[in-house]
């Protein structure tokens, strides 16, 4: 455990070298917030409520989901793992005394830990700038459930991206697939629109899948909605996390024998 903590600490410190990237990440948090503000301002100009949301509630949803979406940086795992498999440098993770999956989890968490404060600061700045009243839940149990779900969601996304990354052992170039995945994940996690706007049947099916609980449900909980789904959400997400831990172990042992250790 200690060595993984060291890996996380190293990656945390490494982020300090990329100060300009941090600054740009802070500035670009405005993209999703501006999108929400302009689009929903127009929608609520003609409607008092939409799907049970008032404008401050909808804007709060986007502020929170945008924050969660920004700190979820697991995308880099699939890109890095697949790139290293392609260029042959993945060999290093096979010879050093670490479990590659845990290594990448530690690495991503280390990098992720650096950003929340900065993203939170910039998000807060935009909230003040747009002069929108935030709607936030006051129930500590609900906030705790949302935080647990967020952490489980982050871990699940790292597991998913690790699995996609090691598919490069088998398929070599998976970049197209990863780009398509990025678009689909943004939609099904509720980062583009709240999932409650989708037909009820589709939302019911989505509750069986983990993506519903990664961004959408924690955001809804934090604006004081869907409280009754909190415990189910944690249970479903934990089950998916366990499933992916086993699946990743199996996939790695199956596919690693296809690796020839040289650049492709």
């Amino acid at each position: 455990m200690k060595k993984y903590l060291e890996i996380a600490k190293t990656l945390f410190k490494a982020q300090i070298a990329y100060r300009f990237d941090v600054a740009m990440t802070m500035v670009f948090t405005i993209s999703k917030i501006l999108f929400a503000y302009i689009l929903w301002d127009a929608v609520f100009g003609q409607n008092e409520t939409v799907a049970g949301f008032t404008f401050p509630m909808m804007f709060s949803y986007y502020i929170i989901s945008s924050f969660l979406y920004q700190i979820e940086m697991s995308d880099r795992v699939s890109w890095e793992v697949s790139a290293r498999i392609r260029d042959g440098s993945f060999s290093k993770y096979m010879v050093i005394p670490v479990n590659p999956q845990r290594y990448f989890i530690a690495q991503t968490l280390g990098a992720m830990m650096f950003y929340p404060l900065f993203i939170f600061a910039s998000t807060a700045a935009w909230v003040v700038l747009f002069r929108v009243k935030l709607v936030i839940a006051c129930d500590t149990a609900v906030i705790a459930a949302a935080l647990i779900m967020t952490v489980l969601g982050l871990l699940f996304m790292i597991q998913l991206n690790y699995l996609l990354g090691i598919l490069a052992f088998r398929f070599q170039d998976i970049s197209v697939f990863l780009m398509i995945k990025g678009n689909i994940v943004a939609f099904i996690t509720g980062a583009l629109v709240p999932l409650v706007l989708l037909p009820r049947g589709i939302v019911s099916v989505m509750r069986f899948f983990p993506f519903y609980y990664v961004t959408y449900l924690p955001s809804m909980l934090l604006i004081g909605r869907n409280k009754e789904e909190a415990l189910t959400g944690i249970a479903v997400l934990a089950a998916w996390l366990l499933l992916f831990t086993i699946l990743n172990k199996y996939a790695y042992s199956k596919f690693r024998v296809m690796y020839d250790g040289v650049g492709i």
Binding site: N47, D173, S175
Partner: protein, 263 residues
């Protein structure tokens, strides 16, 4: 002119033979961008399932808007994007030397050396989205309106190209282009999700006249749905002319500052 066309044809043949080596990713851009626009259609459908209009725009207009943006993106991806996108790297590495010393316009070669036939299926896909939007809109437009629509599609594709060239000429002065590309990606992402008519005040000025991505799909949609004013059409055409001149001037100005060395 004929010499240039023959040159472009040769570039296309070379690119095609290179692409055939990577058959699996041949239609990569089509899959990625096609998927992105389908997701955006789903997003707008989800919103329109709750409301009848967004800022006075119906579901049909929003669908035509997405189809139009998709069409502009498809034209860009097929013809010039993969060429222009390489400019900062060539400036940084000094590889631009090879383009400047050849007896052909370097920008012409850079623009068209990476024509991507794998992106071409996005064009009929986008026209399909536009046709679907037109059917939803249930409108009557004269053939002249459709011709003007396609004239403006051409003009906006030129404007899209101008913006790509301007932003990728900045590395002549600053070397690194990472943040510029991030800025471009962020603005495009915003403007393909928000119809230009929704921008107000300083945002309208910003996205119509400074980073005119907000203009690109909005004006053709207003033309085809008969909601564009004559003044706005004229102003849009003027913006295209202005940015085309600016792109050409900026490219030449950048070349004068080219250090011709790897860094």
């Amino acid at each position: 002119m004929i010499r240039n066309l023959r040159f472009l044809l040769t570039l296309f043949k070379m690119k095609l033979s290179r692409m055939m080596v990577y058959r699996l990713s041949f239609f990569g851009a089509t899959f990625v961008d096609g998927c992105m626009f389908i997701v955006l259609i789903l997003m707008f459908n989800a919103i329109y399932s709750q409301v009848d209009s967004i800022g006075g725009w119906s579901r049909g207009q929003a669908t035509i808007f997405l189809g139009t943006f998709s069409l502009l993106n498809a034209i860009s991806m097929t013809f010039y994007f993969f060429g222009v996108v390489g400019i900062p790297g060539k400036i940084k590495s000094g590889e631009l030397d090879h383009y400047l010393t050849k007896p052909i316009n370097p920008l012409l070669r850079l623009t068209f050396e990476n024509i991507d036939p794998g992106s071409a299926p996005l064009i009929p896909l986008s026209i399909g989205i536009i046709a679907y939007g037109v059917s939803l809109q249930n409108m009557t437009s004269s053939p002249g309106t459709f011709i003007l629509y396609f004239v403006f599609i051409f003009l906006m594709a030129v404007l899209f190209y101008d913006m790509q060239v301007i932003l990728r000429t900045i590395p002549f002065f600053v070397i690194s282009a990472t943040s510029i590309e991030k800025l471009e990606g962020t603005v495009i992402e915003l403007c393909m999700r928000v119809p230009g008519v929704l921008f107000k005040g300083m945002f309208k000025v910003l996205f119509y006249f400074i980073l005119p991505y907000g203009l690109m799909a909005t004006i053709p949609v207003q033309i085809i749905t008969n909601s564009a004013s004559g003044i706005m059409i004229a102003v849009s055409a003027a913006v295209v002319v202005l940015f085309t001149a600016l792109a050409q001037w900026f490219w030449r100005f950048g070349l004068k500052h080219y250090k011709s060395a790897g860094s």
